[in-house]
């Protein structure tokens, strides 16, 4: 989200209303002798059946900032409620990661505090003091680079930076083709890279293709300088409307936002350049003062379940790459037809560390306008 301030006031007002509506439900921190608020895995709390029973007793789960049209969350929430009979309060569906943690700070101690959050990794790293460690039963299937070793946060779903394009250009097999004259004014990012995270990662992907490293984004900026010099860089940032109208026929964006099914254009193709697999994932974490600690833990078990109707396959059906995808592909539990719809990947994925992301942003702040202006 590009302007976090606009929604703050409305958000606070909405939360005040939500708090008024929920203040009657009581919290239960212990059930059957187990204090689920401090339990760090289902087995250490007495097993899945005990967790399910305790969560059902709590009866409610508070989630926040989960848009029903995003990554299949509409279906995921419905499936969870149907499966366990637990009511889900979904607050601020269009909120930002920052608003999620702000809400935890404001609402902790009330029954309306969010039990779990789904946030960007940078926000997760900056707020680990608000979270409590928990390791789902499929913990080992999450790649080591995509979770905190103590279990404070863990990637859930995401995707790779990809180039989506109109099939009127034929088939694009390498990024350097975009410098050809036929791509005049065609190539767009998703925003200004000094402001929008997806745009920064678009430049970083170009940087990896050009042989740059995650610690130095200069070659990526250089590529966009060349693109601008050839007149191929569209200054209009890509949105659903510009893609449909044809004014941004080539778009650098996360693959789950760049699929034909998502952009709603039938003659749309998407590819990920060789050896430039740049990952961007969201992260799950449990509020350490969650009003429904057992339901929060059951929700995580459900999201990381590899079952046909588990969270991992449901995310995949929404076009997002679940974090356990590699493990599920090898053990055969993956929804193969949903996986086949995602663009092919060659090479191992790169994830920016916090320091690398910051140094890229600082480099862009001084060089981006100069290079492409």
């Amino acid at each position: 989200m590009r302007s976090p301030y606009r929604f703050t006031f409305i958000g606070v007002a909405a939360l005040a209303l939500a708090a008024a509506g929920c203040s009657t439900s009581s919290t239960s921190t212990s059930s059957g002798g187990t204090n689920w608020a401090t339990v760090t895995s289902a087995s250490s709390g007495g097993g899945m059946s005990k967790l399910v029973a305790a969560a059902k007793k709590e009866g409610t789960l508070n989630v926040i900032a989960l848009p029903p049209t995003w990554a299949n969350y509409g279906t995921i929430l419905k499936t969870f409620t149907t499966k366990y009979g637990i009511k889900v309060n979904s607050a601020l569906p269009d909120g930002t990661s920052q608003q999620e943690v702000d809400t935890i700070k404001q609402k902790n101690g009330t029954a309306a505090a969010p039990d779990v959050v789904d946030v960007g990794v940078s926000v997760a790293l900056a707020n680990t003091s608000l979270f409590t460690p928990y390791k789902v039963s499929t913990w080992s299937a999450i790649p080591a680079a995509q979770k905190s070793s103590s279990g404070l946060w863990y990637n859930d779903y995401g995707g790779y930076m990809a180039i989506g394009y109109s099939s009127k250009f034929g088939t694009i097999t390498s990024m350097s083709q975009l410098l050809q004259p036929k791509f005049k004014n065609a190539v767009a990012l998703n925003g200004n890279p000094t402001a929008a995270n997806a745009a920064l990662n678009g430049v970083m992907m170009a940087n990896l293709v050009e042989g740059g490293t995650a610690s130095d984004i200069a070659k990526g900026v250089n590529f966009f300088h060349d693109l601008k010099a050839k007149g191929n860089f569209s200054p209009v940032s890509a949105t659903g409307a510009t893609i449909k109208s044809g004014s941004t026929p080539v778009v650098f964006n996360w693959d789950y936002l760049n699929l034909p099914s998502y952009v709603g254009v039938s003659n749309w193709k998407v590819f990920i350049p060789q050896n430039a697999v740049l990952g961007g994932y969201y992260a799950q974490a449990i509020n350490k003062s969650a009003p429904h600690p057992a339901a929060a833990r059951l929700w995580e078990e459900f999201l990381y379940s590899q079952a046909t109707d588990g969270g991992q396959n449901l995310w995949l059906q929404g076009g997002a790459r679940p974090v356990e995808q590699v493990a599920m592909s090898s053990n055969g539990s993956i929804d193969k037809s949903a996986a086949a719809k995602l663009p092919a990947v060659s090479g191992s994925p790169v994830f920016l560390s916090q320091g690398q992301a910051t140094s890229a942003a600082n480099y862009l702040a001084t060089n981006w306008a100069k290079a492409v202006g």
Binding site: S3, L189, G191, N192, A195, L200, S234, A369
Partner: protein
């Protein structure tokens, strides 16, 4: 009159039946002053104070130096170029249109149409205007696809001129209407040519109003944000765009105080321009009485 007498009379006033209570004249301006105070002076004061603080709230006067760094200077130069081009072009074309309108019938259909049209078009800006141009002459536009459409400042200046010209017509027309026919007759009866009339009479009379109006157009372009942001938003060329980045960057570059500082720089820029405008207006008013 002695002091004692005055006191007695003043003290006696309230007891006089039927006498209207006389409020001081400045009381009537209170709502206006209150409005200006709450919606202009107070926010400006907060902004200026915050411009000299850092995010943790302590004073930071060293930050001003960033205004003169090459990056930020680039945004101010970009804003200046765009405002200058669109103001000069808008002023010249707008003045020609205003003269054409003024030389027509005072209550004719052309004049009424031009004035009503200018009133509407001077307010036509923002995303709507940018998309209108995009649809006409953008890369996939209906008319043609000029290569300079996306070059800064020419492409965006053309879009700005679209609302600058009608604004010029509105603010410059009264000045042309103020030219008295007798002056023209007087100069012609003294044997001057049309060129000489404009060179020695009309031109000097209109010059202050013309430059004053051009300065107003300059300030008008400086504050425009939505139009240029819809024209392009992957590169910041102007100060308002950079303020937006400073307020909403999600890659760790957001800094409210830096945005305040940029806004403070714009206030200084506008203050200089508007002071010039006020001085020229004062000179123009002397002639148009």
């Amino acid at each position: 009159m002695t002091v004692a007498a005055t006191t007695t009379e003043a003290g006696a006033r309230p007891s006089r039946a039927g006498r209207r209570l006389r409020a001081p004249a400045w009381l009537g301006t209170l709502p206006f002053l209150g409005y200006v105070g709450v919606f202009l002076l107070w926010p400006t004061g907060i902004l200026v104070v915050d411009a000299f603080k850092n995010p943790s709230g302590s004073w930071n006067f060293g930050g001003v130096s960033t205004l003169f760094g090459p990056v930020v200077r680039g945004y101010f130069i970009g804003s200046f170029k765009l405002c200058l081009i669109s103001a000069v072009a808008g002023a010249v074309f707008g003045a020609l249109v205003a003269y054409a309108v003024a030389s027509g019938k005072p209550d004719g259909a052309v004049r009424r149409f031009a004035l009503a049209g200018s009133g509407v078009l001077a307010q036509f800006g923002g995303v709507t205007l940018a998309f209108a141009f995009q649809a006409l002459i953008g890369p996939v536009g209906l008319l043609f696809h000029p290569s300079w459409y996306y070059s800064f400042p020419w492409g965006i200046a053309l879009i700005y001129i679209y609302f600058q010209v009608p604004l010029m017509v509105l603010v410059f027309l009264p000045a042309i209407d103020g030219l008295k026919l007798q002056w023209r007759e007087a100069s012609e009866s003294l044997g001057s040519s049309t060129w000489q009339y404009w060179r020695y009479v009309g031109g000097p009379l209109l010059a202050p109003a013309f430059f004053g109006a051009a300065l107003l157009l300059f300030a008008n372009a400086l504050s425009a944000f939505a139009t240029i942001e819809a024209w392009e938003n992957q590169i910041a060329y102007t100060v308002p765009q950079e303020i937006s980045t400073s307020l909403s960057s999600e890659v760790g570059l957001s800094n409210v105080n830096a945005a305040d500082l940029l806004a403070f720089g714009m206030i200084v820029m506008v203050a200089v321009v508007m002071t010039g405008y006020a001085l020229l207006q004062r000179r123009a008013a002397r002639w148009l009485r």
